[in-house]
Symmetry: C2
């Protein structure tokens, strides 16, 4: 269903039901169709790519490819266009992705540097990705579960209201207001205890330690402590709270003109944080690019689109996922290269901060 390109070998193995020339024809069809958006015929093919054969031969191959479901014709007596299956084969048989040029690397760097906080970084990232790929970009906030607790703060707002703040190593900040009686003294004690237990721990471990802390609290802290810890556990456990930033919407115009039919469902899907999270959720491995093409997609609204995604984070640890959504008819090689490059860069960038 999904492909990790880094893991596939070169295109020069055999023994499949598609021989080398047919594959070449498929490749030619895909690239031509992607750039022209129009069904491509046998004659145009031999002219633009120098396959060493005649149109008639290509026609035979095309018939075979159609038989096997890799291409199709919109109506009789028109050229062929690739099917989802065709794109899939095309993507699977890509060689390794070529890295971005030095200039592009520099552009990415320039775009990201100067970011001031996590929101800012992700906001810039999504714009960067959208601009580079000319598609709609999606970036997920780093999940809580992969982060460690950096600091816990409890602030008195009034004698009966407390603000509880949780800060993670990835720069995320969560806050809740809490109704509970307390004194300044209790709060500072509580602060010390909470931080001692949780700081530096992975969120899951921190949650466990905080939970077990409840029973050990000095009686003076029992009330405010229990309430605070309950809130903290709520924050730590609520991993669906992970948010998603979307950008590059104007690129949706490339979908063609059947607006109501084509674009509306995509827009709707893009507004559903839950859908996007699930979509990205299955593409977490760092340093490999996942592609899901058309019907391979679990959501009906997105079955006319393809997803190109990659996890980002450190080499050891993937924090979250980012990617793009575009028409199935897209330039996969360069898009995949761009997504991978941006993911790597953001990962490094966040690891430093």
């Amino acid at each position: 269903m999904t492909t990790e390109v880094e893991a596939t070998e070169g295109p020069d193995r055999e023994g499949e039901d598609v021989d080398e020339r047919k594959l070449q024809v498929l490749r030619a069809i895909v690239t031509d169709y992607v750039s022209s958006q129009e069904p491509v015929g046998s004659k145009a093919l031999v002219e633009r790519h120098n396959l060493g054969v005649s149109p008639a031969t290509v026609r035979n191959d095309m018939a075979a490819l159609e038989e096997e479901g890799y291409i199709t014709q919109p109506h009789t007596s028109a050229g062929r266009i690739p099917t989802d299956k065709g794109y899939r084969l095309f993507v699977d048989r890509l060689g390794s992705l070529k890295p971005l040029s030095a200039a592009e690397q520099r552009a990415i760097h320039a775009f990201l540097s100067g970011a001031v906080d996590l929101d800012d970084i992700l906001f810039r990232t999504v714009r960067l990705l959208a601009q580079v790929t000319q598609q709609v970009a999606i970036v997920q906030y780093p999940t809580l579960s992969s982060a460690t607790v950096r600091h816990i703060e409890v602030v008195s707002l009034s004698s009966h209201r407390v603000l509880v703040i949780l800060i993670t190593s990835t720069g995320r900040i969560e806050q809740r207001v809490l109704e509970t009686e307390h004194t300044a003294d209790e709060l500072s004690q509580l602060r010390a205890v909470l931080n001692a237990a949780a700081v530096g721990q992975l969120s899951s471990l921190a949650a466990a330690r905080l939970a077990s802390l409840v029973s050990e609290l000095p009686t003076a802290l029992a009330a405010v402590g229990q309430a605070s810890i309950a809130t903290l556990l709520d924050m730590l456990g609520d991993d669906t709270a992970s948010r998603v930033v979307v950008g590059g919407m104007p690129n949706l115009t490339r979908f063609g003109d059947e607006f109501e039919t084509n674009v509306r469902p995509v827009l709707e899907a893009l507004e559903e944080q839950v859908v996007l999270l699930k979509l990205l959720g299955e593409a977490t491995s760092t340093d490999s690019v996942t592609v899901r093409i058309g019907r391979e997609n679990p959501y009906e609204e997105l079955q006319a689109t393809s997803l190109v995604a990659s996890g980002y984070g450190t080499a050891l640890d993937s924090w979250a996922t980012l990617g793009i959504v575009g028409p199935t008819r897209m330039d996969y090689p360069s898009t995949m290269a761009s997504v991978r490059a941006v993911a790597r860069y953001v990962g490094r960038f966040l690891a430093e901060g």
Copy 2:
């Protein structure tokens, strides 16, 4: 250029260049066109609205209205459609907006209650507004300048890195990482001093007091204190940092089918935070609804659209603005009522939290 509907009197004054019946005809044209999206002719008009006159009479009035620039015909021998100027007159001559029904009030309440923090509130608000108006909704984050400082926190990340956090009464959180040597002791002293100076103050005043604090710092705190205060001043002064949430994009499909021509520029404008901020910036007064129609709009990309916006906050104090963007051909009365209702509700809601 903009109108505050609450301030205009009823429609029954005279002495203008449009008499009462012509106005009635204009009203009929606008409502019919809004609901049908098609040019409306004299015959259809007298049938659907019971004006007590014949089509021919209406035609005369229409000719006059066209002469004065309130309506136009797309081509000879077609019906009439309102111009921007026509919509403007229509809106200016609206009676007072009718409040939402009890059921709608309850729906709004249900939608908003249960929000957990500021992000959440605004996120829900934008969805609510989009759903209620069936347009693209825009909500601005409360500006810093209208908020008071709730708490300042300085957290040690390592011996030479400090996280500075600013929390406002409206629930906004700003954070920066700072490179400076320090000890735990210095930080807790600093925390006390900073909060003593700033908490409860309006951001402008807090900034002033923090600035004057620099010279009074104990020498031990001089280095870390100066750095922190500089950062805080930066955060407090940076009012352009106000962000904007956009939602209801799928409603853009109502713009009609000329996708590339119509919708692309709008999408582009909606991605530009700066544009949106400036757009909303001029509509800050609480409890009055500002309408900007088509060409009245300062941004070329939005000159096929109308903006309906209102400030929100308390009666005394407007924090920020929210509104919707839609085609000039929209149902102004109910849209304006909805925007006003949501703005009021959110204002109250935030004032409580």
